[in-house]
Subunit: 395 residues, 2 copies
């Protein structure tokens, strides 16, 4: 296991986690140098190990899903319902700085993994949970007991009425933004708690809800509904136009015409300065109301242009714009490779595979480690030796 | 100014910021007890103060946009290009723990606000920047000099080919996810740097890119493109079906049928256990390929049911599902009020207005302060007195 200096050097994270939300957060902590130990059910492991597609080589089995969020971690197999393994688990817990879990909240009491259970074993622990709607002990009502996945939180936070096209039917944005934003919020709360522990010696209990994160994303629709008693229009910036994608001869661009200064520059780029005089285009809200008429002017300008030509003309006038890229094109951006945001993981089964790097770019994170996701239980003996000084022959 | 105990008590944040990305991050830091001082151009201020809609009362002018991300902060007017104010700014900087900015990177050198400039004034500062593609001093190429807004980063990170409907044309998800995820990443990096400073005494330079965050969100499409040489299907979980929204008699629900155990429970909820035997439905990938046929079975079941009835049947069989809610319905969820994720801000012009709370729910954040967004320059004298002990009569 490759270990580098990082801001979390010396910090021990014990995690009981599945799928994406908690695993991504602990992977980011591992990127920062934490020693992340993943406690997995013997012979089974993280549920994402069983998700297709997977590949085998020399009897070695690897799911692509599992590779997404488990680099730089170690794995130990422990049966939390068996006495000997539970004793080992509690010893690991005593040695840990941070405990993380994203199990279904209704399962925590049965596994003796509630905050109260864990705090009894380690009173200064930083306990970090991710769930759909919060932990039952801190919230009333039925919601904390309901099974909730990313898409459920997106739907219940009102986000599926925001994308373009959602005036006809709800639109799923197509990626697990509730999971991943929960990962980011857990990460922030963990660092906050570490800072607090360093100043006070106290631990903390963190209760991240996916629905909370979705509502944080939907902040504009919330304040508009409250203050204006109106809904944000689907797919649009409520207060600006044009805003969003436009077809060119060979692809699509996006433009963001926010404010009247940019509107003037946009009309100059189209060589149509005269339309700034039209009363129906006098503000973002008005242009939004007269979008069909506005789009005629835009098509008149853009229909004969390639993406490159349209972007050149907009850049010359300082209008914020860019190409709409496919993943193939994203992979070609030098900026992302140089920043370490696209990295290559040399997986023992899949071989060299590109994946997303770490979005915290700072002087503290200049080089992140790059060990592949662990095999199930691969590090059991090492972890017991390192953390609780249990020798191999003790088992 | 209401000040409560919080994990950032005693921490001073100086910020030169506009619109959403940095303001939201510093608002979250203010929620945690930091003293956040917003340096604004005299008579103008944060660009979002000029965005419509706005309201006036007794000559007092307030933009709704500005209220979104500026609670619990103080405002000082300083002309950074004037000698006397620049001297005051540098003294504030010496007194600060953290400096944050989200100006256009190409403007930083002219304002003497690059990391090098700021570090000369305060060597142990934590410097936090948000930009579209990273700061020019840490990245080669032209991209760091291009103007970039949320929608440009979304487009360039490939996310606009992910939503439902994006097989026809790129779809904008309708909310500023690149801005807000950058806020979250800046927040994590700031707390990471505070923890590091507590252990070592050293500052840090943080360089958050909106495009990096978008790529972190698009991690599944990235690894699928690399490992499988195929694109993630728009609007779908690449490896599962059914997954997403379904129309009921009176609304829409979402279901998440991930894995074969849930598939069996889903067919039982529909009272169609026999279809688990059909070879074309034998895996998520196959069901995804035979979606039209699968949807016939689903419609046969759901078309006569209300949202409530459909969700009851799914819950009885343990299938993760939920209603697709509008913002009006979101505002009625007790869970969110109880958790403080919907809060009421008593704005001096708009009156009591609901807005999103803080998504870091933990024992350290039990009660967050609730002061409205500051008037331009309202706290100038207080800030100079508190931070650099400059008396009123010195000006």
């Amino acid at each position: 296991m490759e270990r580098m200096m990082g801001p979390l050097n010396g910090i021990r994270v014990l995690t009981v986690e599945n799928f994406i939300s908690a695993p991504l957060a602990t992977m980011w902590l591992a990127d920062a140098g934490a020693d992340v130990v993943k406690v997995e059910i013997p012979g089974v492991g993280d549920s994402s190990r069983g998700v297709q597609p997977s590949r085998e080589r020399d009897g070695d089995h690897r799911s692509l899903s599992f590779m997404r969020a488990n680099r730089n971690k170690r794995s130990i197999e422990l049966d939390l319902k068996g006495d000997a393994d539970r004793e080992r688990f509690d010893q690991l817990l005593q040695s840990a700085d941070i405990f993380i879990e994203n199990l279904r909240p209704s399962a925590l009491a049965g596994l003796r993994l509630t905050y109260d259970d864990v705090k009894k074993v380690n009173p200064s622990i930083i306990y970090g949970a991710i769930s759909g709607f919060g932990l039952p002990e801190f919230n009333s009502g039925d919601m904390p007991y309901q099974p909730a996945l990313d898409v459920v939180a997106q739907a219940m936070g009102g986000l599926m009425y925001r994308p373009e096209g959602a005036d006809k039917a709800p639109v799923y944005p197509g990626f697990p933004l509730a999971d991943i934003f929960a990962s980011a919020n857990l990460q922030s709360a963990i660092y906050q708690a570490l800072f607090h522990r360093e100043r006070t010696g106290e631990g903390a209990c963190i209760d991240i809800s996916m629905l909370d994160g979705v509502v944080a994303f939907n902040e504009l629709a919330l304040i508009m509904r409250s203050a204006l008693e109106q809904d944000a229009s689907p797919g649009m910036h409520g207060l600006a136009a044009p805003f969003g994608s436009l077809p060119t001869r060979d692809g699509h661009i996006v433009v963001a015409v926010l404010g009247e200064a940019v509107w003037e520059r946009f009309t100059a780029a189209m060589n149509k300065p005269e339309i700034t005089q039209l009363p129906q285009f006098a503000s973002g809200v008005l242009r939004h109301q007269h979008l069909a008429e506005l789009e005629e002017h835009i098509h008149d300008w853009i229909d004969d242009l390639t993406t490159e030509q349209a972007l050149e003309q907009l850049a010359a006038h300082g209008v914020p714009a860019g190409p709409v890229l496919s993943m193939d094109q994203v992979l070609e951006l030098d900026n992302l490779h140089e920043r370490g945001m696209i990295v290559t993981m040399d997986d023992p089964v899949w071989g060299p595979t590109r994946m997303a790097g770490n979005p915290l770019h700072s002087s503290l994170m200049e080089k992140i480690p790059m060990s592949p996701a662990p095999h199930l239980g691969a590090d059991s003996a090492d972890i017991l030796a390192d953390w609780i000084h249990e020798a191999d022959d003790a088992r």
